[in-house]
């Protein structure tokens, strides 16, 4: 089966991101859950022959008594990771200028890969597609079928109308039952304070939050087009402006905006990453590993 946002070459690549996924899945969550529900949450996986270096306590002595061979009884560990991916699907996410991908496509690629990685580790991943409202909500699941549902939803997803991340987060709060990880992919053209006010309930509930600020290179460095009329992709509002006259101020404003986001994130122990759509979305896995 072929999905738009999960290419076979990406799946191959993801094997190299084992460590990143492990950090996300095990390093943070699995340790906690293992200590909490030891023994009851294990499920038989398979028998395998003992090899030197294996833990002798894992040897199944009953099998040894019957067959006089050393077999280890392995169990499938249940980590209970629940990761919900928020994908901003507002109209502004459909912008691309210097990159091959729109911000939404870029976010979708990353969401697909991350979902695959999580499901492949038998953890649960959920998806929430929003603009000014929650357009789609898939509760966390860990089955292949669930993964396919996520990939299909991403594929069908199109840039919508205006964005309101804060509103979406407020509305999603009762939908996410268990605490886990939240990954938000957005261009964050919203007031930083409002965003973090909406995030506060999640933070208090003990969620680990990753904010991925996705921008097109043309937004990070405003292209000098001379006098131009700009149409807002979300509101269709028009404005005529001489780009060269505001280029520096744009740069300053954007920097101030990201700085505000970063400082608010740091103060709440929220992970914040600014990424250009020109960069590979695989670099985000590195960010997750840290």
């Amino acid at each position: 089966m072929q999905f738009k946002y999960l290419k076979p070459e990406d799946i191959n690549k993801l094997r190299n991101y084992e460590f990143g996924a492990k950090a996300l899945v095990e390093g943070y969550l699995s340790g906690r859950h293992r200590s909490k529900q030891r023994g009851s949450s294990t499920e038989f996986h398979e028998y395998r022959q003992y090899t030197p270096g294996d833990d002798p306590s894992m040897v199944d002595w009953r099998v040894f008594a019957r067959s006089d061979r050393h077999y280890l009884k392995t169990f499938e560990q249940e980590t209970n990771l629940e990761c919900t991916i928020f994908v901003d699907s507002s109209a502004s996410m459909g912008f691309k200028e210097k990159s091959e991908l729109t911000k939404l496509e870029y976010s979708s690629f990353f969401a697909a890969c991350l979902s695959y990685l999580i499901v492949s580790k038998n953890d649960q991943v959920g998806l929430q597609i929003f603009d000014k409202d929650i357009r789609h909500h898939l509760p966390p699941g860990s089955t292949r079928k669930h993964l396919h549902s996520i990939l299909n939803l991403l594929e069908k997803n199109q840039p919508g109308s205006q964005t309101s991340l804060a509103e979406s987060l407020k509305r999603a709060n009762p939908l996410i039952k268990r605490k886990g990880t939240i990954v938000i992919l957005s261009d964050f053209f919203d007031e930083p304070k409002q965003i973090f006010q909406a995030l506060n309930p999640y933070i208090h509930r003990g969620f680990r939050i990753h904010l991925f600020h996705v921008l097109d290179p043309g937004e990070m460095n405003l292209t000098d087009r001379g006098l131009s009329m700009f149409t807002d992709m979300e509101t269709d509002e028009k404005i005529t402006i001489h780009t060269s006259s505001i280029k520096q101020t744009w740069q300053d404003e954007l920097k101030a905006h990201t700085k505000a986001l970063r400082s608010l994130a740091a103060s709440r122990k929220v992970d914040y990453t600014l990424i250009s759509t020109q960069e590979s979305y695989f670099t985000l896995f590195d960010r997750l590993a840290h």
Binding site: M93, M220, N221, S228, M229, D232, I246, D252, E253, K255
Partner: protein, 689 residues
């Protein structure tokens, strides 16, 4: 001033100056459209930058428009022209430059003199104005022009300027302007007079500059500051023509033309004797210094007073000639109309008294004559027993410097005496009276310098004695008397006694010399008084006959007894001057070929000095303070550069070099204005990460 265009046909190009505005408007109306993720940010930014950007954008637009306009104006070739109503387009330019050459122009102003500066300015004007016809008129005492009429040979005029020197004259300003107007009267075309002077206050304060409006008249000042100066302003001698051995007082006046008191030394060189005095002169004031001397030899003695040299040297010396007499010539005239025998008997007494007096006084010579002597032969003419005739002849003699003394005869009328001395009219008849007991007489005017030696009483009463005969002169004439009888009858009357230096001295003598009629002549004070009186009434030889004005030629009317061809003119300092002979009604006249400068000039026949003249620096030129030429009503005052600018304007100044510069400057300014905000250094220029 107005702006004219060489290519007015291309004036439509100026409409293209609107291109930047049109481009601006067009670009704003149809800008390329782009979709953008979120313009909330953009709106916020516009709000922030609009306060700076809008005026900046408008400035850039303005600069671009101006640059375009200036660029297009180059093609139209504008030129700036002045609107001179008196200027006739295409006509010849006739310029007369009047240069002040008076003495004050030799004052040093910095490293050059005012005159050199004036010549340099004139030369520059001639070079740059390039008039079709020009002339230079010098302001001397007698103005003169280089050409008889304005001519095209500017090179010659410039050469004249290079060789010209300032004079010691007083400039005849009005005459110079008249000469310039006379030369421009018959000239066609544009006419202009440029006057270059220091505008010395004393000379220009009341100058009449009457120039018709049709002639452009410009005043150009040289020398920008008042200069301090000390000058000897006059020399006076008392008496003006002493006899040998007589005490002479030479007084010099020194003026200080500055705001600070000055101290200096004045030197007097008189007949070989040299004296000096240190003096202090108050600020803007004057000091008088008196030297006393005597001359042992008769003749014309040259006197030079000099100061320690200052920056303006011309007036640091002053000259005079003192005619020292060998003796005073007293002539006794026998009664007019009397026979020789009668005359001899009648005047024997008084004349013999005067003869004896002359033998007692070495400087007095006495002669007796029966006819009225010609002018200039005798200094004093004593007419005994005057009958009242020949008043006109006597007046002429008196007016020519001979002192007249008359003793009236019984036939003389009171009116004749009154007429001779211009005395107040009296109705009384002239009567002679005798008094066996005699009358006494004494000094009427004790304040007169005549009686200065009698004031101590050492020499007694000058009219001491007993007088038994006299004429009953009106007591109303007492005011004119110097000696009078105790009963207020005038004894000796002198006209204008208050003006002792006057040329014309006339006396009425009412004191008898005859020993039978008085014992006065035997009295001790008689000789003293007579000596003092004769020196007092001696005619003044005004040194006007010696003094010449600077700028005029040194001239001398040669006496008949001297052969003019043997005469040479020798200035006291320097070599002989060239002279020329001309015959006038008065006789042969010699005069120098060049104008006189301050100094002493001797007319010599061989080694003998036949006559002496002196020329002094004009006093009015010593005050070096300046007048603002704008204060003079006529003409406009200007700098040389202003005149050249005005001339250039009248010819038309092409504006294209200015326009090219303007375009470049505007483009630079536009680039600066357009980029200064955008390229503002900032730490935020790095990529956001």
């Amino acid at each position: 001033m107005s702006l004219l265009y060489n290519n007015p046909a291309l004036f439509w190009l100026m409409a293209l100056a609107a291109i930047p505005i049109l481009v601006h408007l067009f670009a704003r109306s149809r800008p390329p459209k782009h979709r953008f993720s979120d313009i909330t940010f953009l709106k916020r930014i516009i709000k922030k930058t609009s306060r700076v950007r809008k005026p900046q954008d408008r400035l850039v637009l303005l600069l671009r428009t101006l640059a375009a306009a200036a660029l297009l104006a180059i093609f139209v070739q504008p030129f700036l022209v002045s609107e001179d109503p008196n200027r006739i387009a295409g006509a010849d330019d006739n310029v007369i430059i009047i240069i002040d050459r008076s003495a004050s122009m030799s004052a040093q102003q910095g490293s050059t003199s005012r005159f050199t500066e004036a010549c340099n300015e004139a030369s520059e004007l001639l070079t740059k104005l390039k008039p079709d016809n020009a002339n230079i008129i010098w302001i001397n005492s007698t103005p003169n022009a280089v050409f008889p009429a304005p001519g095209p040979n500017l090179t010659f005029l410039k050469e004249s300027l290079q060789t010209a020197e300032p004079t010691s004259d007083v400039g005849a300003i009005s005459a110079s302007i008249k000469l310039a107007l006379e030369q421009l009267k018959n000239v066609n075309g544009n006419r202009e007079i440029i006057i270059i002077s220091d505008f010395q206050k004393q000379a220009w304060e009341n100058a009449e500059l009457d120039v018709p409006e049709a002639i452009k008249f410009t005043k150009l000042a040289v020398g920008d500051t008042d200069l301090a100066n000390i000058a000897i302003s006059s020399i006076a001698t008392t008496p003006s023509s002493p006899v040998t051995g007589q005490d002479v007082a030479i007084s010099c006046q020194i003026k200080n033309f500055s705001n600070k008191p000055k101290s200096t030394t004045i030197y007097l060189n008189a007949g070989g004797g040299r004296q000096s005095k240190d003096i202090e002169i108050p600020a803007n004031g004057q000091t008088e210094v008196e030297f006393r001397t005597q001359f042992s030899h008769h003749g014309d003695v040259a006197v030079t007073a000099s100061l320690t040299e200052d920056s303006f040297k011309g007036d640091d010396e002053r000259f005079t000639i003192i005619p020292v007499r060998e003796s005073l010539s007293l002539c006794s005239l026998t009664p007019l109309g009397a026979s020789p025998a009668e005359a001899k008997s009648k005047v024997h007494g008084p004349a013999s008294v005067l003869q004896r007096l002359a033998s007692a006084l070495p400087w007095l010579s006495h002669t007796v004559t029966a006819e009225i002597p010609p002018v200039g032969v005798h200094d004093i003419l004593f007419i005994h027993e005057w009958n009242g005739q020949d008043i006109e002849t006597l007046t002429k003699l008196s007016n020519n410097g001979t002192t007249i003394i008359v003793t009236p005869s019984s036939s003389c009328q009171l009116q004749q005496l009154q007429q001779l001395l211009n005395l107040p009219a009296s109705s009384n008849a002239l009567t002679q009276k005798d008094n066996p007991e005699g009358w006494r007489a004494g000094i009427t005017k004790e304040t007169s310098s005549l009686f200065s030696i009698f004031s101590s009483g050492e020499f007694g009463n000058p009219a001491q004695g007993n007088f038994r005969q006299r004429f009953q002169l009106p007591s109303e004439w007492l005011n004119a008397s110097i000696i009078s009888y105790t009963d207020k009858i005038p004894a000796i009357l002198l006209n204008n006694t208050s003006k002792s230096s006057s040329k014309s001295k006339r006396l009425i003598w009412n004191l008898p010399f005859d020993p039978n009629l008085s014992d006065w002549i035997s009295q001790e004070p008689f000789v003293t008084f007579m000596a003092e009186l004769l020196l007092y009434i001696q005619p003044s030889k005004m040194n006007l006959q010696f003094e010449l004005l600077p700028g005029s030629p040194v001239n001398w009317l040669v006496p008949e007894n001297i052969d003019p061809s043997t005469v040479a003119l020798h200035p006291l300092s320097g070599e002989n001057w060239a002279i020329k002979l001309s015959n006038t009604k008065q006789g042969a006249s010699l005069q120098s070929t060049v104008p006189a400068t301050p100094g002493i000039f001797e007319w010599r026949t061989g080694n003998t000095i036949a006559h002496t003249n002196f020329v002094n620096f004009p006093t009015s030129e010593s005050d070096l303070s300046l007048l603002d030429p704008a204060a003079l009503k006529q003409g406009q005052s200007a700098e040389a550069s202003d005149i050249l600018k005005a001339e250039a304007l009248s010819q038309g100044i092409p504006m294209w070099p200015w326009l090219v510069s303007a375009v470049l400057l505007l483009l630079i300014a536009e680039a600066f204005a357009a980029t200064t905000k955008r390229n503002k250094p900032s730490s935020n220029t790095s990529t956001i990460s």
